[in-house]
């Protein structure tokens, strides 16, 4: 699903965000990426989404090499990923339903299919009573759940969530992590970054990446398929 060989990432200003690393993440795995601020968690997710290219080595996501000159293919590859951004990136002025349907619009679904799927997943994140509400008037936690519904509604092969526990109290943070992990199945991997090391230490995961200063230690917990 994701493979890296001697891959590194250096930003234009010279910051070496990720020192050369190897990595392999398989289908159907839950991956926690933890580490202090500035350790390179978001940088790794940027590589996965093809927002940055490796400075050296190779990085492949869903069989698509992440490198310059593959813009079209990378754009296509992204349709199989459900991203949940730290700042959500919902479309202001649009309803919850519109926001969730947005990620399916260019994938060839019919209007009815899109509506059915969107309603189903909005229900699953517990927002069915706010279907037609404008996202501008939702609370932070509600926006997050819209973002989650938008990411998972198109049944991606990879769900990527950056800092989903950021602004939440312990109880809600646990709930969101559990919700995200519930979308992991044989076909779908879930990758989550978080500061909250103490929270995820108790949770089952296949892979833990503990980041520090652009390097990481990889621990395998559950074997593949087990959860």
């Amino acid at each position: 699903m994701i493979t890296a060989n001697a891959c590194s990432l250096q930003y234009k200003d010279g910051t070496l965000a990720l020192k050369p690393f190897d990595l392999a993440i398989n289908k159907g795995e839950v991956v926690f990426i933890t580490g202090p601020s500035g350790s390179g968690k978001t940088s790794l997710l940027k590589l996965i989404l093809g927002m940055e290219f490796p400075t050296s080595g190779s990085f492949t996501v869903l069989n698509q090499p992440i490198k310059a000159g593959c813009d079209r293919e990378i754009r296509q590859m992204r349709t199989q990923i459900g991203p949940i951004f730290q700042e959500f990136r919902l479309l202001d002025g649009r309803s919850v339903l519109d926001n969730v349907m947005l990620s399916m619009r260019f994938l060839g679904y019919s209007q009815t299919q899109m509506r059915e799927l969107a309603t189903h997943y909005i229900d699953r994140v517990g927002l069915s009573h706010k279907l037609e509400h404008t996202v501008d008037r939702l609370s932070w936690g509600e926006c997050q759940r819209v973002a989650i519904a938008r990411a998972v509604v198109r049944k991606p092969k990879l769900i990527v969530a950056d800092e989903p526990t950021g602004n939440l109290d312990q109880e809600n943070a646990k709930n969101v992590l559990a919700l995200l992990m519930s979308f992991c199945d044989d076909e779908t991997s879930v990758i989550i970054t978080t500061h909250a090391t103490h929270l995820v230490d108790h949770m089952d995961a296949h892979v833990r990446l503990k980041m520090q200063n652009g390097t990481f230690v990889l621990e395998r917990g559950l074997s593949h398929g087990e959860r």
Binding site: I81, P83, D98, L102, R105
Partner: protein, 295 residues
């Protein structure tokens, strides 16, 4: 795949938010586009009119030759034959004094009553010589050599003036069209660029979700086409109102001139304008989008 059809509603709601966000600058561009189109419509229709007028007058190009009063019927016929021989003469018709009187009263219409003021018919008999306009000078020369002719009345220099005016108006029309093309292009592509700029975050989000460029760009292209087409429709409306008003005002005044085929002109100009506006809107928005991409 129901890709296109299921998104029509989405595209239109996107266009609506693009317009809403752009508010004042979209409105101002819309108004300037409509005014540009209006001015172009005026010059082009002016060109059309003078073109038609001069064509129509050319068909009726005539020289009037007045015969010496002592000429008898026999020599009149000989003279007519001689004139017919001249190169470029299409027809020679004798117009009697009575016919000349009738023609004038027709031209004058209700004003014809002033003719009754005369005790005698003030008109003389003459020969109406239909000519090919470009041979006019040669014909006039030949006619002046014929001694049976007393004098010649030639109002064709007016025609030449009209011809020249037509050419000038034609050039102005061409420049106006060029100005419309350039100005529409600049205004529209600028407004598209501005729209893209204001929607930068949204466009980035869509890219991260994997949306293809065509999906992202469609609302902006629709915006450009809508802008130019609606502006051209507004200018057409103003133009039709204006020109029918003008037509009504001048038709009494100019009723001796050949009548212009007004509905046909409106139809041709309207469809032409809308087609041009659509093409321009499409071209300019694609251009605007390309400019954004390259930066």
């Amino acid at each position: 795949m129901a890709k296109g059809s299921s998104n029509i509603g989405y595209y239109f709601s996107e266009v609506k938010t693009i317009f809403k966000l752009g508010k004042l600058s979209v409105l101002l561009s819309f108004i300037s586009l409509a005014m540009i189109f209006f001015i172009a419509l005026l010059t082009i229709s002016g060109w059309w009119y003078s073109q038609n007028l001069s064509e129509a007058l050319k068909d009726e190009a005539e020289i009037s030759a007045y015969m010496r009063p002592d000429l008898n019927t026999y020599s009149t016929e000989a003279l007519m034959e001689a004139i017919h021989e001249i190169d470029g003469v299409v027809s020679v018709v004798e117009v009697s004094a009575e016919t000349a009187y009738d023609q004038m009263s027709e031209v004058l219409g209700p004003e014809a009553s002033i003719l009754a003021q005369f005790d005698e018919n003030p008109f003389e008999a003459y020969l109406a010589i239909g000519i090919e306009l470009d041979q006019r000078v040669g014909i006039l020369e030949k006619l002046s050599e014929l001694e049976q002719i007393d004098y010649i009345r030639d109002n064709q220099s007016v025609l030449e003036k009209i011809d020249r005016i037509t050419k000038v108006v034609g050039i102005i029309g061409l420049m106006a069209t060029l100005a419309v093309v350039v100005a529409t292009f600049i205004v529209t592509s600028h407004i598209i660029r501005e729209g893209v700029h204001m929607h930068k975050d949204q466009i980035n989000t869509l890219k991260l979700l994997g949306a293809p460029d065509r999906f992202i760009q469609t609302p902006f292209i629709m915006e450009g086409i809508l802008l130019t087409v609606l502006a051209s429709c507004l200018s057409l409306l103003a133009f039709v109102l204006f020109s029918t008003q003008l037509g009504r005002g001048t038709s009494d005044l100019l009723n001796f001139l050949p009548q212009l085929d007004h509905p046909r002109m409106i139809m041709t100009i309207s469809s032409g304008t809308i087609i041009i506006a659509t093409v321009l809107g499409l071209g300019a928005s694609l251009f605007g989008l390309k400019m954004v991409k390259e930066r």
